[in-house]
Symmetry: C2
Subunit: 151 residues, 2 copies
Amino acid sequence: MIDEISMEILKILQDKARIPNVEVSRQVGLAPSAVLERIRKMEKTGIIDGYEVRLNPERFSRSQISYIHITTRLHSSGKGTIGDQLAAIPEIQEVHFIAGEDGYLVKARTANTEELGDLLRNQIATIEGVIATRTTTVLHTYKETSRIPIR
Amino acid sequence: MIDEISMEILKILQDKARIPNVEVSRQVGLAPSAVLERIRKMEKTGIIDGYEVRLNPERFSRSQISYIHITTRLHSSGKGTIGDQLAAIPEIQEVHFIAGEDGYLVKARTANTEELGDLLRNQIATIEGVIATRTTTVLHTYKETSRIPIR
DNA sequence: CCAACGAGGAGAATAATATTCTCTAAAAAG
DNA sequence: CTTTTTAGAGAATATTATTCTCCTCGTTGG
């Protein structure tokens, strides 16, 4: 369903999403109109979900990455699921329901461990059904990408 | 250093990085040339790191997210650091050196648990200095974004 | 207090790109 | 075999990007 040329196009967009269409067409050897049509189609069918800017976290006081395991009561009451409540917190970038621990794994970005503490105390611990948390703080990041490997 | 207008611009780009410049300029109320200059400057100073396309993982057989804790020997020999070797594996999107466990936390994307097993056995366990791994598989994802919260 | 300087922005001119549309070829369907 | 559908080329047109000049305003140094 996605042929070699579309793969080429996507690879180019993974690197430089703001590249002009005409430049993409040059690189893949199709007419601009053809490339445009392919991209439109991939946007429409959901292969392409959107385009985003990649910002430098340090410039926005978001250098501290932490992973938080959250243990929950099995039958939580409260409004909405715990997952949704966690997802609503801006500092939290990822919320996963995980196997084997009755709980969630969450990725947070804060300025420092100070703010991390605030987050844990004021935003997470206060959610109905949360029993305990275990936090893993990141000391150094070797790689951090959302790029999906495509052949 | 980053004023309110630049924030506006960045917020717009976080949503739709391929939006035309002239449209941004309309939304923030500056001339296109002024917006262009601001964006160029932010690219140059590293505030903006790049632009990327967001693809649908399911369309590329990358639905299985897993987090892998990797315990390592303290003084590893081998070529390069373990972190760099992990980072070189395409299925691995994140490699973090973490506090308190002499090891790494790694995020992997595979088609299924089958492939996850392959990854663990053939690519991770074979790295010199790796003592043990503990894998957390994700059952459901509520939120997954790389967007940095900006005020 | 005033002049020189510099940063940023407006606006117009020009260059480049995006988009649309028509035509055609080739593949798929019947 | 036709018919239909799909995808691409290429040209015309619309829109956008980029450059450049001029201007304003805030800052600095005298």
